[in-house]
């Protein structure tokens, strides 16, 4: 709903190109304004529905269970790794096979559930080597296939 209102305001404030003497029915903000109205109306409908459904139910939010907290931490970890890879590693002059290899290795090491389930908290050198081999073989293969065979530039 908030986004809808913001779009509507943005559209109304948009330049109407009067100095170019364009047809007033072709102003650039016309469709975005209508979309803003539609989005506000639909957002309002979702809000009202949700509000009606939970009306009167003002229960204190239960603390997160251990399972849910673990799942949430894992999700945040996944998002963090992906964002660091895209925003932090790519486009810094490092070759793709290197950044990709580091990313896959890190994912395997940090997210391997079986290791955690087995209660193995520490990374053994064997597991690090195995993860690095998988990560770099995959990354180098992708780089070779795209750059050498299909002639496509990589970030």
């Amino acid at each position: 709903m908030v986004l809808g209102i913001a779009i509507l305001i943005g559209s109304l404030l948009m330049d109407r190109l009067e100095e170019q003497d364009i047809n007033p029915y072709t102003i650039p903000g016309l469709l975005p304004a209508l979309l803003g109205i539609a989005m506000t109306a639909l957002g309002f409908l979702v809000f009202i529905r949700k509000w009606t459904r939970f009306k009167g139910v003002v229960a204190a939010r239960a603390p997160l269970s251990v399972d849910k907290r673990t799942a949430m931490n894992r999700m945040l970890l996944v998002l963090g790794i992906c964002v660091i890879f895209c925003a932090g590693l790519l486009g810094r002059g490092l070759p793709y096979w290197l950044t990709g290899g580091v990313f896959v290795t890190a994912c395997i090491l940090l997210l391997d559930n079986r290791r955690r389930a087995a209660g193995e908290g520490r990374f053994t050198s064997g597991k690090i080597v195995r993860a690095a081999v998988i990560g770099f073989v995959a990354s180098i293969a992708i780089t070779l296939v795209f750059e050498q065979i299909f002639m496509i530039r990589l970030p």
């Binding site: 998002l79 994912c107 079986r114």
Partner: protein
């Protein structure tokens, strides 16, 4: 008619070379492998392969993409049968009966039925594509700005209504997609909209990075965040397709083919709807209704035929109107544009041979899935044994390449990341991404049609409602949306009940 057959013959002859056959087999193989992995969709594989085919000639590139599209949906049924998890959304209807058969030790038989259903379904869809696409293309030449405005709106409204469980959320996603397509320079005056002075945004958000984000990255995050991986059931019996069962259940095959094609023709309504509607129709008509969900061959055949027959049907509005029938066909359409073929009403004028080429490609894709269904199913199942924690980061690397390769700019990778993370959270809240994609594709058409229409009518809204084709689209669109309002819906129900009881009373009196 003979001209059409001649075009079709030329198209077939054009693909009878080793390069095309290898491209077709390669596309189908990649598609089946991706389809086997739960969560990875046809949209993702077509988007990723589009970047690989940038330097390949048009026909072979589209052939590869087409085979991967068909292959993904075919491969998805393997996971549905052996894991009870649909490989793609379209295979969800195959889960219940396929998995029940597999648990009884008849996994091979279930795979065989799925193969024969997929083959006959796609072939039926191809026949409809060859028949309807040129006809619709002729009709589409009569479409003007007013008709295209309603067609775009109709597509988003139908997609929002049918895809997912909640129409309001579907429409909201459709409107969001339409808005995202407005970001960047507008199509008439190249005026910057919602760019906030950021030059990179002036070009807008490209479809491929957005699709890779919505269907690839969101799935990678979902799979990595949820580490559970189920055990695969072993295939002990023969996986050879059962064409005797196709003959036995010919009514189901034909009915599901028709239902699949019908749903495929509706813009933005994916293959999963075709599968579910075929399944429901088969259940309603079947004598073994109580067996549905417990290993019914009728049910499995209906689901597989329904989803596969809708693939060629999705290409009918895509080729003749420039309105994609599903999310993967939206990427396919983008790939066609990248390769210099603009789908739409002018296609029969600018590239008259192309529709027949696509018919030949789809037939070839059908044959390739049969080949893989006959000979390579068992080795492909080993893909399911690779842990997600290894597979998904590698797929993420491919997503990054897929987003970047089109324009070689990092902004597209950031856009993919933004859309992907957004899609992940929206999916958690029950919002479907298909209407969003359709909105992104149709936004440009909607904007230009509205403004051109208003210029032509000098600001009058009359022609938007009074032209014959507009009247039909407007009535269906508005009526569909109004059905969501309880007062209107109950009034319609009352009228329908009244009509039915009057007709019954009339017949009773006559008798």
């Amino acid at each position: 008619m003979f001209e059409g057959l001649s075009h079709l013959g030329t198209a077939w002859a054009g693909f009878m070379n080793i390069h095309s056959i290898l491209y077709g087999l390669g596309g189908a193989f990649i598609g089946i492998v991706v389809g086997v992995i739960p969560g990875l969709s046809a949209t993702l594989v077509v988007a990723l392969l589009t970047t690989l085919t940038l330097k390949v000639d048009t026909n072979n590139a589209i052939l590869l993409l087409m085979c991967s599209y068909v292959g993904t949906l075919y491969g998805g049924s393997r996971t549905a049968i052996l894991l009870n998890i649909p490989g793609t959304a379209a295979n969800a209807a195959s889960c219940a009966d396929g998995y029940a058969l597999a648990k009884r030790g008849e996994a091979g038989r279930a795979i065989g039925i799925a193969t024969s259903g997929a083959f006959t379904g796609t072939l039926f869809g191809v026949l409809c594509l060859a028949t309807f696409a040129p006809l619709l293309a002729e009709v589409a030449l009569k479409f003007g700005a007013f008709e295209f405005f309603w067609l775009a709106l109709f597509g988003v409204a139908m997609s929002g209504m049918i895809v997912g469980d909640d129409p309001v959320k579907g429409w909201l996603m459709g409107v969001l997609g339409l808005f995202v397509s407005q970001i960047g320079q507008d199509g008439l005056y190249a005026h910057d909209r919602f760019t906030f002075g950021w030059d990179q945004l002036a070009g807008g958000i490209d479809l491929i990075p957005a699709l890779v984000g919505a269907f690839g990255l969101a799935e990678v995050i979902t799979s990595l965040a949820n580490p559970l991986q189920q055990k695969v059931i072993d295939v002990k019996d023969s996986v050879l397709p059962r064409f005797r069962e196709v003959a036995q259940y010919w009514r189901t095959v034909l009915r599901s083919g028709v239902v699949g094609v019908f749903t495929g023709l509706l813009p933005g309504v994916g293959e999963d709807t075709g599968a579910w509607m075929s399944y429901a129709a088969a259940k309603a008509a079947s004598k073994e209704r109580d067996q549905f969900g417990k290993g019914s061959i009728d049910g499995l055949m209906a689901a597989e035929t329904g989803d596969m027959s809708s693939i060629p049907a999705h290409l009918v509005p895509c080729l003749s109107l420039g309105i994609p029938g599903s999310a993967p066909s939206a990427v396919l359409m983008a790939a066609m544009i990248i390769h210099g073929v603009q789908p739409g009403p002018m296609l029969m004028v600018t590239h008259p041979q192309f529709i027949y080429d696509v018919v030949a490609m789809t037939t070839l894709a059908t044959i390739t899935i049969l080949i893989f269904g006959l000979f390579f199913i068992r080795p492909l199942i080993y893909v399911l044994r690779v842990p997600y924690v290894i597979l998904m980061p590698i797929i993420f690397l491919l997503c990054v390449v897929g987003a970047y390769a089109g324009a070689s700019r990092l902004f597209d990778v950031y856009a993919m990341l933004f859309v992907g993370v957004g899609a992940f959270f929206l999916r958690l809240r029950g919002y479907s991404m298909a209407p969003f994609v359709l909105g992104m594709v149709l936004g440009g058409i909607l904007d230009k049609s509205l403004r051109r229409g208003l210029v032509l009518s000098d600001g009058s809204l009359g022609p938007f409602f009074t032209r014959p084709i507009c009247m039909v689209f407007a009535t269906v669109t508005i009526f569909t949306m109004l059905l969501y309002i309880p007062v209107f819906r109950s009034a319609v129900n009352k009228i329908v009940t009244l009509c039915v009881s009057s007709v019954r009373a009339l017949f009773a009196r006559t008798a």
